[in-house]
Symmetry: C2
Subunit: 433 residues, 2 copies
């Protein structure tokens, strides 16, 4: 179901059916900072992120594999997406050396030397056992001149092919691969070799079309190749190309030729102005297939996630709600609240009167201000729970608006609210620890 370019759909992943557009909370090092897993479940999170770079360093992917994979390790039964580690290698490691083969880098923790190739990144992600893995990419810095952006894009495309080749040969190594799924008994590796959406080798292809439509009229990504939810991971490709729209187009087209089950737009939220982010997203989406999920990595503010969903983006993730929460910056239906401000010290009202989250239901602004002001650990817990609830609720409203064909109204309302709030730069960099 569509509302303009925006799409309402479902991703049938091995560990969860995920309605899209979806916002994915970031669980850097096998935990969404400060929030217990049962609370994430009760907030309705169906998919969260893990960071390959961080988990590779601590506690180590082999350890997690031995313990049954990341789902079991962190006791998260729903879907997981792991990034490729590329972004952190480039943003956290001060000393690194990029070659055709991969990246040699030093750990930001202890300076120890490590090497990531596309093959190694996928091996690590398979050991973690994500539902969705990301191809290893070079995240192009900003600003980058045209020649540099082209060279980086070419490298990323060669790495994408190597990522895919390694994935196709090894995807059955996911720790849960042989476990029977709740809805799938007989789907085996051989039957659907190549992964969930990447089905050219799959002997079974009953749904036939590129888009499967459920009884409720919702688009089901992946219906093409695996009509029942199977326990097979998927590998997404990543579009790069800096802020050059022709390079973005080339990157997208060459990536689509490789036929991934989903596509991410990477290399954004790296310091560029917001109008450029939007321009790159809007322009790149044109060259990505409509029957595959489209994921913009590392965005954004509440109004941005509504805006990008309206452009046709299906998946987003960002550390903003969790990181901002730990600094007392809270998102509400009435705009941003810096809860440490003195003006809330005597305020008995809820943080957001229209919010139904457990924090707004129970605690006052005065109490949240007090916790933030005294540096109490409960401050991070409650603030994060609210901000995540606000983001997840925002996406639920987006999905609801698409269903009712009223997304334009929601977008206008969201923009009006955000225009009233001052921008707070410096909060969008990636989670460092």
């Amino acid at each position: 179901m569509q509302d303009g370019p925006a799409r309402l759909a479902e991703m049938q992943l091995p560990h969860a059916t995920v309605p899209t557009p979806v916002f994915m909370p970031v669980g850097t090092v096998a935990t969404v900072k400060a929030v217990p897993q049962d609370v994430l479940e009760s907030l309705g999170a169906q998919i969260i992120l893990g960071n390959t770079y961080h988990l590779y360093l601590r506690p180590g992917h082999e350890r997690i594999r031995q313990l049954g994979g990341l789902h079991r390790f962190m006791s998260w039964p729903r879907a997981l997406l792991t990034d490729s580690g590329g972004f952190q290698v480039f943003s956290l490691s001060k000393i690194r050396k990029v070659t055709e083969d991969g990246v040699e880098f030093r750990s930001h923790l202890d300076g120890s030397k490590h090497f990531f190739s596309p093959e190694h990144s996928i091996a690590v992600q398979l050991a973690l056992g994500a539902d969705i893995l990301m191809a290893f990419d070079e995240c192009t810095e900003y600003p980058a001149d045209y020649a540099r952006a082209r060279q980086s894009l070419d490298l990323t495309l060669r790495w994408a092919q190597r990522s895919k080749d390694y994935f196709r040969a090894h995807f059955h190594e996911a720790p849960w691969y042989n476990e029977p799924g709740p809805d799938s008994q007989g789907v085996t590796g051989e039957a659907v070799a190549g992964g969930m959406w990447d089905g050219e080798d799959a002997p079974e292809n009953p749904a036939g079309g590129a888009i499967d439509t459920t009884a409720e009229g919702q688009t089901v990504f992946g219906g093409r190749y695996v009509p029942v939810p199977g326990k097979i991971p998927s590998l997404f490709g990543i579009v790069q190309g800096g802020m050059y729209l022709d390079l973005r187009r080339e990157s997208a087209e060459r990536l689509v030729e490789m036929d991934f089950p989903g596509y991410a737009i990477g290399g954004l939220s790296v310091g560029e102005p917001r109008h450029l982010t939007r321009e790159v997203i809007e322009s790149t989406l044109e060259f990505l297939p409509k029957d595959r999920p489209r994921y913009v990595m590392g965005v954004g503010y509440p109004d941005e996630i509504v805006e990008y969903a309206a452009l046709g983006v299906d998946m987003m993730d960002c550390v903003l709600p969790t990181r901002a929460a730990r600094h007392g910056l809270l998102f509400t239906s009435q705009g941003r609240v810096q809860i440490k401000n003195k003006q809330y010290a005597d305020d008995p009202g809820p943080l957001d009167p229209t919010c139904a989250c457990p924090v707004c239901n129970r605690y006052s602004r005065a109490y949240l201000r007090h916790l933030a002001n005294t540096g109490e650990p409960l401050s991070a817990v409650l603030n994060t729970v609210h901000n995540l609830a606000f983001y997840l609720d925002t996406m639920e409203r987006v999905r609801d608006s698409i269903k009712r064909g009223s997304l334009a109204g929601l977008l206008a309302e969201t923009r009006r609210r955000q225009a009233e709030a001052e921008t707070q730069p410096g909060l969008l960099e990636s989670e460092a620890s």
Copy 2:
């Protein structure tokens, strides 16, 4: 109901009926560190502590009073006990001056100058609106010579009388005093002037005896004066006297003459060897009335709380379970676990296989070790939830054993387990922030 000197009873407090013996988690600055209130409720905590000194400094007792009292401020509907502030004034403030009138001290936060008298301590506690308030005392340092301990004890007794006088004149100022209680409609200040157990002025005294016994044979403290739970706070006196048993006896006897509804043994856990703590408790209990709750402040390890309950102590509090949790020290039925240790890195089992807490139900030792090792905020949350569950469960087992007359067996078993664990000194000092 008794099992040796141990007693099974209930305290009917304005905000909760509290079964005793009870362990009270410490909520220093209006939060039990890292644990949301709904989790405390689900763990079965019926009463928690607030620290008068900390709350006086931040966010300020007047602010809390304006916001409806501490229960409403922190959204804690069950019972609260506040200490007198005396312990923190003496342990946290480097510069202080004790006079007959009270203590002048400087804030450990910003060096600002403050003054606490017995009257002011009670005024602050009434503004906070605790169910149980503590008389303002001087916590005698350890070691202290006989003359010093006597002088300190005398001062504390004069302060106890002043605390009581002020309390009797002002207890109706508790912020919730005029709210109708769930079980009590018509109990007014005049009818029970003086507080819940302190009923010599109370015109109604239907229960008559010193100990009221419910249908289940349980002793109900307070049944003497207020047969239905009324919304009236109570003030407890504090026994001092250093480690001198004759001074403890004198302190207890003179305090009992003042007729408080409950008595605390203070000035312990100040660095003295454990056998002295026990000796002082056992000896002091002899001189405290059997029909009033007896509270030992600031104890202890899991085996100690069982041991002291067996001696006849009804109430205990300690920062140990919460503070140790934040340092990775966890208490289990199999002894102490330092979860940061490498030996747990690959351990898929639950922290404590016999524990039914939400942490042991869901997470592995390997995961808890990883969280502690990476300094993740979720580590403090989960570790604290488990340690509190362990303490609260321990007390539930104590109550159950008293009921079945088998406390001696539980005590022997607890002692055997703790003998296997090494002692970890330095963890029992009071919470500093």
